[in-house]
C-alpha cells in the first residue's frame, strides 16, 4: 500500500520535472537531436541535473541493507552488452528522433487531451506487444 502511494507520488513529481525541463515538447527534443542542423543543446542539462542528484542518493543507498519501505532491492543485475541491447537501443533512438517522444513524456502528454500523444502511446504499446511476438519466436537474451 505504502509502496503504491510512493509510486503515485514519484510519477507525479517525475511528470512535473519532465514538463518544466522541456522534455514534453517534441520540437525541442528534435532540436536537441539535430546536431548537424539548428542544434538546441539545452536538454543535455536535464540529464546532468537528474544524474547529479541521483548519483549522490545512489551512493548513500549503497550503505543501506534494504530500501526504507521494502524488504529487498529490486535492481537490474545484468552487465553484458548484448546484441539485443544494441539493436533495441538503436531502434528506440530512431523512433525518438522521428516522433520527439520517449515513453515518459508521451504518457505525461496524454493529459493534454490532444490526439497525437494518444496515437503515439497506443503505437508504443503495440510495439511492446510486437516485441513479445518476435521474442517468442527468436528467444533473445535481452
Amino acid at each position: 500500500m505504502k509502496n503504491s502511494l510512493v509510486a503515485l507520488s514519484v510519477g507525479f513529481l517525475f511528470a512535473i520535472g519532465l514538463g518544466l525541463s522541456g522534455m514534453t515538447e517534441p520540437q525541442k527534443v528534435v532540436g536537441f537531436l539535430d546536431l548537424f542542423g539548428s542544434w538546441d543543446p539545452s536538454l543535455i542539462f536535464v540529464m546532468i541535473g537528474a544524474i547529479l542528484v541521483h548519483f549522490l542518493v545512489f551512493k548513500f543507498t549503497k550503505k543501506l541493507n534494504k530500501p526504507l519501505l521494502d524488504t529487498k532491492w529490486h535492481l537490474p543485475t545484468k552487465k553484458e552488452i548484448t546484441p539485443a541491447l544494441v539493436i533495441g537501443s538503436t531502434l528506440f533512438g530512431i523512433g525518438w528522433g522521428l516522433g520527439g517522444y520517449c515513453p515518459g513524456p508521451a504518457l505525461t502528454s496524454l493529459a493534454s487531451f490532444e490526439i497525437r500523444p494518444l496515437i503515439f502511446v497506443v503505437s508504443m504499446i503495440a510495439g511492446m506487444y510486437l516485441f513479445r511476438l518476435f521474442d517468442k519466436k527468436f528467444k533473445l537474451q535481452k
Binding site: V6, L8, V10, F12, L13, F14, A15, G17, G19, L20, G22, E25, V30, L33, D34, S42, I44, M47, G49, A50, I51, L52, H54, V57, F58, F60, T61, P67, H74, P76, K79, E80, L85, V86, S89, T90, L91, F92, G93, G95, W96, G97, L98, Y101, C102, P103, G104, S109, L110, A111, S112, I119, F120, S123, M124, G127, M128, L130, F131, K142
Partner: protein, 141 residues
C-alpha cells in the same frame, strides 16, 4: 536560450529527486518503459504500483496543463503514419533494449552501469542520425 538551460537543469533536478525517492523507499529503478511493459504481462502483487505510477504521470500532466499551458506546445507537424512508426519503434526498441531515457539514461548512468551508458550513447547517436536523415528526405521539417 539561457532560461531554457536553467529550466532543463531545474526540471532534471526534480526528475533526479523523484527517481531517488523510488530507489530509497521502494528499492526500484524508475524505468518508464519497464514499468509500462510490466503492466502488459501482469504478475500478482506487482501491477498496482505500476498502474499508480502511470496515473501519477497523468496527474502531473494535468497540473502542468492547468498551471503551465505551454508545457505541451512544440508538437511536430509530421503525418499520422510517421507518428505511428515512431511509437512502434519506441515500444519495440525499449523492451528489446531493456530500457529508455529514464531507466538507462538517468538511473543506469547514475549507478555507473556500463550497459546503461552504452545503451544511452547508442540511442542518442541513433536519434541524431535519424533526425539528420529524416530531415534530409523531408519527413521532419
Amino acid at each position: 536560450m539561457q532560461q531554457d538551460w536553467i529550466n532543463a537543469l531545474f526540471g532534471g533536478g526534480i526528475i533526479g529527486i523523484s527517481v531517488s525517492l523510488m530507489l530509497l523507499l521502494n528499492g526500484r529503478v524508475t524505468g518508464i518503459s519497464g514499468i509500462v511493459n510490466g503492466i502488459l504481462s501482469p504478475l500478482k502483487g506487482d501491477t498496482a504500483w505500476r498502474v499508480l505510477f502511470v496515473a501519477g504521470l497523468f496527474f502531473g500532466g494535468l497540473i502542468l496543463k492547468v498551471l503551465r499551458p505551454t508545457t505541451f506546445d512544440g508538437v511536430l507537424a509530421t503525418d499520422t503514419w510517421t507518428l505511428i512508426s515512431a511509437g512502434l519503434l519506441v515500444g519495440f526498441g525499449t523492451v528489446m533494449g531493456s530500457g529508455c531515457t529514464s531507466g538507462h539514461g538517468v538511473c543506469g548512468i547514475s549507478r555507473l552501469s556500463l550497459r546503461s551508458l552504452a545503451a544511452t550513447i547508442i540511442f542518442i547517436v541513433a536519434g541524431i542520425a535519424a533526425v539528420c536523415f529524416f530531415k534530409k528526405i523531408g519527413i521532419l521539417i
